[in-house]
């Protein structure tokens, strides 16, 4: 028989209808959903072997032990490495997102390295008798700091300047039964967070500050004193002025002060933080042994305080910002510079610091790109040595700060970290704690090479406890208030110490919620007359900067809480007077 077209059509039509009664076409329809499920522009996470790598967080001197979950070599998540005798496996919000830092929008990507080097050399050559070549190191007592000191010793009129931090004194929280803190964020990033939290059950915390900070809210007692009246309270408690006067000055009740004084009497040892006016009792503040350094390094420039330099005397200034630390207001630095074109080089990874002022900004590696050691934290009684090891490659354009300075001073470039490690190994004191296996071994039982390997694979050297360590004083108290610039501006500034710049993901904490105060944000009492989230201008005698307003009934009227970003620190310190006006 021959098939007609009609029959073919019928067959085709019939089978088409038939197919509709099978799952096949419907299944296919379901699968078409996939294309609407893969919206364009969404990055696909790279896959690969998952493994753990260890390092130490170098975002602050706490240097918490870090366990990095890596895909291949790329860290995708950080967490505290457990069992650590100091950091106790804790990691703060900033540290948890540390692996984002290489990609932050404000990253310095390249800079005029040759020009800067030439300018520095030129400056050193031009340096007159009463002029100085200065290296400003925001985080002293690192191995790199030693390089700077040696370099500054090598150049004519070289000076090594750091913010006023005494690294030879340590706080022993474990000894204290009462901690009286004048605005020190004891439980909010001060010292080694893990250590503070671990020690917390051991002491009664009395927090004296104008605003109920996170620490104050966790404290056993919060004293709401007038901003800037910390010293008055201290004097009152020290009996240097009458309680009445202290009450007058601080805005507290007289009996409150009396009761407090009595408490400090009974409930010692007392650790006083944030004021050098009042004695700590017991051996809560002790002097700490220096982490050993090679003998040949001892020919180093002394640590100079910026204030001790005459104004208009700095010809060459090299600022190492690679390791965040205490920020000195630019105004204070500026007046030390010579009038006729001084050379200022900032070695920074973020454009938001001194890079805003220096004429040469050179890119440097950032955590976790670069190797470097972290000096012991203030609450670490024993000296320590731990490395922040590179987890991701550092961009080519970046320079190594210590090499730059060494080169400028004509020092040979050597592997200083390794030399220091060997020096420590030679001293053969203390123990080595390794993160992967959370074991500690006596250093003397470890070979030098193994020590070095261990340090690079995530390890920490902790000095032997030193029972004979003499009690000491925090001559320059941590985060002690700078003098208040007098003015008739209506508000009194209270700085909240947020670590900036951080990962963009930290927007969760301030932009996408109001948990913390974001960079360039101010918190005011609802009665201030501005709306929540309003754009405003923050103004002090030293200048103004744009800010966003957050209303918080927890802020007493007349106070303004500002997050301490470099831009703000250039304008004011805690206790300064300011005003916030509409943009």
């Amino acid at each position: 028989m021959k098939t007609t077209r009609r029959e073919i059509m019928l067959f085709a039509g019939g089978s088409a209808v038939g197919v509709l009664f099978t799952p096949a076409p419907w299944r296919l329809l379901t699968d078409t959903a996939l294309w609407s499920e893969n919206w364009p522009g969404i990055p696909a996470p790279a896959r690969g072997e998952i493994r753990a790598r260890y390092t130490n967080c170098s975002l602050c001197t706490a240097g918490c032990a870090v366990r990095a979950r890596c895909v291949g070599d790329q860290p995708v998540a950080l967490s505290g490495a457990g069992g650590h005798p100091l950091s106790h496996g804790a990691l703060c919000a900033f540290g948890l997102a540390g692996h984002h830092l290489p990609y932050i929008p404000s990253r310095v990507k390249q800079g005029p390295v040759k020009e800067a080097a030439a300018a520095v050399a030129d400056g050193i050559a031009k340096c007159g008798p009463a002029e100085y070549v200065v290296t400003l190191d925001l985080r002293p007592a690192r191995t790199a700091s030693w390089t700077y000191r040696r370099a500054m010793a090598a150049v004519k009129n070289g000076r090594y300047v750091t913010p006023a931090v005494d690294s030879s004194v340590a706080v022993d929280l474990s000894k204290a039964r009462t901690v009286l803190s004048f605005g020190v964020p004891v439980l909010d990033g001060w010292g080694t967070p893990g250590n503070a939290i671990a020690a917390r059950p051991g002491f009664r915390l009395i927090q004296a500050e104008p605003i109920e900070s996170r620490t104050a809210s966790m404290a056993d007692q919060w004293l709401r004193i007038r901003p800037g009246s910390e010293d008055t309270l201290a004097q009152g408690l020290a009996g240097q002025i009458a309680h009445a006067a202290a009450a007058e000055g601080t805005g507290l009740a007289e009996r409150e002060i009396a009761a407090l004084a009595a408490q400090l009497e009974q409930n010692g040892p007392v650790l006083v933080l944030g004021s050098s006016r009042l004695e700590s009792t017991g051996r809560t503040i002790v002097s700490r042994r220096e982490t050993p350094v090679p003998a040949e390094w001892q020919k180093a420039a002394p640590v100079t305080d910026l204030a001790s330099l005459p104004d208009g005397s700095v010809r060459v200034l090299i600022i190492d910002e690679s390791a965040p630390g205490e920020y000195l207001p630019w105004k204070a630095i500026e007046k030390k510079l010579v009038a006729d074109n001084p050379v200022v080089v900032a070695l920074a990874w973020s454009r938001e610091g001194y890079g805003r002022h220096a004429q040469h900004v050179l890119p440097v590696g950032v955590y976790p790109e670069v190797a470097g050691d972290i000096p012991p934290a203030i609450d670490s009684v024993a000296a320590t040595f731990r490395l922040s090891v590179p987890l991701v490659p550092v961009p080519e354009a970046c320079v190594k700060p210590e090499e730059f300075v060494a080169a400028a001073a004509g020092l040979p470039v050597t592997d200083t970290l390794r030399e220091r490690a060997d020096a420590i190994h030679k001293a053969a004191r203390g123990t080595l704690f390794t993160y992967a296996d959370t074991k500690s071994v006596e250093l003397k039982d470890v070979k030098a090479d193994d020590f070095w390997k261990a340090l690079n694979a995530g390890g920490c050297w902790i000095d032997a406890p030193d029972d004979k360590a003499p009690a000491a004083r925090l001559t320059t108290a941590v985060a002690e208030l700078r003098p208040v610039e007098e003015s008739d501006l209506p508000l009194v500034v209270v700085l909240s110490h947020e670590l900036t710049p951080g990962s963009p993901i930290l927007s969760k904490l301030y932009q996408e919620s109001n948990l913390r105060l974001g960079p360039n944000c101010v918190a005011l009492h609802p009665s201030c007359g501005l709306e929540d989230g309003a754009k405003a201008v923050f103004e002090t005698l030293l200048g103004k900067c744009p800010v966003a307003v957050t209303l918080d009934a927890g802020i007493p009227p007349g106070l303004v809480q500002v997050s301490a970003s470099p831009a703000v620190l250039d304008l004011c310190a805690s206790g300064a007077r300011a005003k916030v006006g509409r943009a």
Partner: protein
Amino acid sequence: MASPPRPVRAAPERKTPVDNPLDNMDRHFIARGAVRCSTPKFLLWMAPWAALLVFGLYSAALCLIKGLNQTNMDNRFAFGLWIFLDLTVIALGAGAFFTGFLLYILKLDELRSVINSAVVIGLVCYSGAVCVLAVDVGQPLRAWFTFWYPNVHSMLTEVTFCISCYLTVLAIEYVPIVLRNRKLRQVPSFLVFEFELHKLIYVLAGVGTFLSFFHQGSLGGLYGVLRGRPFAFREGLAVWPSTFFLFIISAAAVGPSFILLTTWLVQKITRKRLVRPEVLQLLGRISGSLLAVYVLAKSIDTLIWINRTSPETGFQAWQYYSWKPFGTWILVAEIGVCGLLPALMLLAPKLRRRTGWLVSGAFLACAGVALNRFVLTVQTLALPTLSFDRFLSYTPSWQETGTFLAVVAYGVLVYSFSFRYFQLFPQERELKLEARQVEEERELVGRY
């Protein structure tokens, strides 16, 4: 026979007016004998609405292309102006199904003179609502998932299914109205299809009624089931919270009112008699009686909610009304001023006979239902549930408002177009002739 026939003879010669070619450009599309304004005038009327529509479409496009960040909605105010619009518009559009139900199922033949208009209104409202819904969701391309992976426990699924089905039904009901157009009906197949389809229209009316009952209800259920939102949560029968039934009644009540309102408005705008006043009064009466039932049911429901449902979830009812500006006044306005009052106005035959009362009654009824939908959507979301949470306020962005206006403009355009070219009010010609008869009689009385 009103008057004896008199001979027809030449009236005094008049100059034939020079007629503008535009005037009768589209006259062959306009039903014979129906007086409509000139084409330019019509275009002039349509232009601003068209402009508004274009603007609205632009803002909607922004929301679709750039995403819903264009709106002022947020995680807490997950719904805004649009949901309010949807609920209200659909309630007002209920006239279509309810009139159809009364006419074709209960054979209330007087309503034949408004059914076409009702269908158009229904179509406008529902299609508008569906379009806005499509903009309102974050992933419109996945709309079909609701049909593909339906969660039959979700009120929203019920709504989606019913509304899309009912929209189809409305579209089909609209076809005969279009095909009756003078020009189109000259095409034999159109003529015949329209004729045959119209014979089966009661089937569609039945289906439409069924669907409408369910989705009007499930729109109410939408909020009534939110046990996490004690302000909206209601107990009910089986799977349906009380709001389910309240919405059905209120929609049925307000539908006729809205038709009454629009018809009156069209009559005012076009300066024509389109339906007999009795029809409007009938609509008023239906609306009034249902509204009365609704008010009663709503009051009982509210009392139960205040005294049982809400306290059981740990929320004292009074506290909802202590958040300014949503004081108890809103409750009074909803049930009293815009519920009981119009019900009485529409039920009293004396008042009903006065157009002023009739229309304002209808208007209040519509306002009341709109307010009810507003309360259920916006107030529900504004109230905090967590003790450490704040009371929220929300103002729609211009993109949202634009999209909202687009729906209004679209409605006016479609209705005006339909009114011009289709027979929305079959009685129109008849009434015109009647009017003339009356005139002539008057004239005769004057003569003898």
